[in-house]
Symmetry: C2
Subunit: 191 residues, 2 copies
């Protein structure tokens, strides 16, 4: 039954007529079921001119088992330290850890959905993975505006990712091109 | 019909009894169908002691429509420049672009599956996104060993991502903790 799922995907990822195809039917099926219970929320970007040094934004997200396995399959990063508990137990981590790149993706998500928000273009990132995230961790990504460059509409952020215990897992910086005008989009919101 | 898909996932991501659960049934279904046609391949890591300055490795992967939409949903990075063709046409890119973080994930995948390979721990990354990747692009991630630190088994790589036309899309550096001994794992291989 494809019609309803298809509508759900449209709503969830802003698909429109004229947009590129969604790829395989199998992809439809998996994604659609996965997002059926995701609430939608309107997100507005903060235009470059309204961004001030010291502005902060937070992005909170739990890393699920499915996130780690999906990330492994779509990126090709099938490192057993992320996927194989028996192997991971033999490492200094004593169990599986979340891909560092998934924390990097949360920073990108914070930039794209919180500050500056929709329409932001990612230019540079530098990240240090200090401690591993574990599956089930609720990660908080915090962004702080540290620099603006008016001639190019570039904004430089300090970024950090902490877990539910307040432990600092990743720190770094991100340089983005901020949108010139306010953009509002409907985005899926994961509980 | 869950038994066969379940076996496929075990094979594809090295799942074992005692390993954590695979999460939601919906995730099973989507992922399983998606990886049914992925061949398996044995991958060996290169232990720290065998890595030499100047050693190179390549990781080639095509970015699919499903990759971009899956990445958006699992990371929360639902920036319309990646998902909404109508919006993306109004940007300087003239159409949708691939998440920069997905190129960063390819670099992580190259480190985890090519050099040093399985068991590698990602410590630091710095990346500059020079040009956008497009959906359907065949991306080649190239790693070159530029520095080793014997006391900590750290290896520093120069990394770059190019498309099928040889255009340089992303450049940067990655610092990893290399495995001490050779690890061999079965990994899914995507055509």
């Amino acid at each position: 039954m494809w019609v309803a799922p298809n509508r759900v995907i449209r709503a969830a990822v802003g698909r429109r007529r004229g947009d590129a195809g969604l790829g395989t039917r199998s992809w439809y099926r998996g994604r659609t079921i996965a997002i059926l219970n995701i609430a939608m929320t309107k997100v507005r970007s903060v235009p470059y001119a309204e961004i001030k040094i010291g502005d902060r934004a937070e992005f909170v997200r739990q890393v699920t088992e499915g996130d780690v396995r999906s990330f492994a399959l779509l990126s090709g990063d099938t490192n057993p330290v992320h996927l194989d508990e028996a192997y991971a137990k033999t490492t200094p981590f004593g169990g599986r850890i979340v891909h560092g790149s998934l924390m990097a993706a949360h920073i990108s998500a914070a930039l794209a959905t919180k500050l500056p928000g929709p329409g932001t273009i990612y230019l540079e990132e530098s990240l240090r993975f200090r401690r591993p995230a574990r599956i089930g961790d609720v990660l908080t990504t915090t962004l702080v505006v540290e620099e603006k460059r008016d001639d190019r509409k570039f904004v430089r952020f300090e970024a950090q990712v902490t877990n539910q215990d307040g432990t600092l897992l990743a720190t770094g910086h991100a340089l983005v091109l901020a949108p010139s005008e306010r953009i509002e989009v409907e985005l899926p919101e994961r509980p």
